[in-house]
Symmetry: none
Subunit: 230 residues, 2 copies
DNA sequence: TACATTTTTGATGGGAGCTTGAAAACTAAT
DNA sequence: ATTAGTTTTCAAGCTCCCATCAAAAATGTA
């Protein structure tokens, strides 16, 4: 995986490059927009990390230039917390944004997330999905049906079930689920998830004490079983 | 969870320490950077809380020194909001920032959030690996399959098998395996590994008493045989 | 072969993790 | 302020996992 990192602050590029390389990524750096553009046109990259504030050509400008020729995933580094910047960056075509100051670790995590997301979206998820276990998740009407019987879920329960069902079989830890449902700055206990899972099971499992749809992975988290047989 | 709290204001360390301890964290304190560094080198900590303004060595300096030897999560305490601009450029490497004045509750919340985030980091291992012996290790679904038959392993068993399979043919001593599985600060018997190996063999070997996948290297440890023939 | 060392195996107590129900804290609307 | 619905916390009970021990088997060596 090749990453192009564009920032004029050498300290940032050095640290980030080191972290990303340690994670097995090939990293090239550019200190301004023009260099970045030429580099991108001449070499294939799998992901771009762009500072919003750059000398010469701004990050947003580069972003839109790139978007004319490629759909490569882009992560924006924004200096200000202002909401406008986020919207601006995203509306132009960035896949994620990170506000400074940030930790290198967070950047690595977001890079992984974006790459995973973009790679998986080869089969764009439909708005209504039905699984072999009889469950139907309707993201448009925002409702769940089990064998054509409507099930009423609270917003949180819907999010959790949706997150698990989005990647059938994949284990999600309580921490991951908390972040999906409550966001990064939740000051509570991860065990909340257990309570929600309990509620969901009571509503969708025929035998909640012996679940067939949302399975527990001891010591790790929960996963969604899409097939009927178990 | 052990936390190292570095601040020269005794009032702050006292209050924060009390709050964090009440939440079940083990808290040590240091009043300057040099002490903090030596403490960190001699004892294992799971998280650092650093004041940006410290006598002698500054918080940013400590941060970068620590980053050279460890990727431990770091939370920075910054004195004024006005300095945000400087922080943005200078102090990359911390995982979160809290500006004074802050409430102890907020610090506790951020500590939890950072720990949750860092613990969630998935290993940079490949997601799914299959071997000639018919074994598949699926790190996403967190499950093992032997010829497409699902095998249920406990977390510890999963870690051990994963560690051995990561470097096929390479011998890992019990000490190394203990460190991978239980961490650096385990004061128990290395022979625990034997018990886990036994369990794993019962689950994945056709003839556990004559293992073909996890082989014993007498006097040294265990190794993983990836090929079918043995 | 005989001996010492190392590994395997089975059993067990303690502990960690999960589930569950109930109550408390929040939210949003009346 | 009251109420209903939702989210979070807490404690009790339960299941399952793990570290330890001792006996038996296997391995390497003299």
């Amino acid at each position: 995986m090749r990453i192009l990192l564009v920032d004029d602050e050498k300290k940032i590029t050095t640290v980030l490059k080191a972290y990303l390389q340690q994670e097995g990524f090939q990293v090239s750096t550019a200190i301004n927009g023009l260099i970045a553009l030429t580099m991108f046109k001449e070499n294939p990259f799998d992901l771009l990390i762009l500072d919003l504030m750059l000398p010469g050509m701004s990050g947003t400008k580069i972003c839109s230039e790139i978007r004319k020729i490629s759909s490569v995933p882009i992560i924006m580094l924004t200096a200000k917390v202002e909401e406008e910047d986020r919207i601006q960056g995203l509306s132009i075509g960035a896949d994620d944004y990170i506000t400074k100051p940030f930790s290198p670790r967070e950047v690595v995590a977001r890079v992984r997330a974006v790459l995973r997301r973009t790679n998986n979206e080869t089969s764009p998820l439909a708005d209504v999905i039905s699984y072999d276990n009889g469950l139907t998740i309707d993201n448009i009407q925002h409702e769940i049906r089990l064998n054509d019987q409507e099930i009423l879920l609270t917003p949180t329960e819907f999010k959790i079930l949706g997150a698990l069902a989005k990647h059938p079989g994949r284990v999600l830890s309580r921490g991951q689920l908390v972040e999906i449902v409550q966001g990064h700055d939740f000051d509570g206990d991860d065990r909340v998830i257990d309570a929600h899972i309990k509620k969901i099971r009571q509503k969708i499992e025929t035998t909640p004490s012996n679940p067939q749809i949302i399975m527990t992975v001891y010591g790790i988290g929960y996963k969604f079983y899409p097939s009927a047989g178990g």
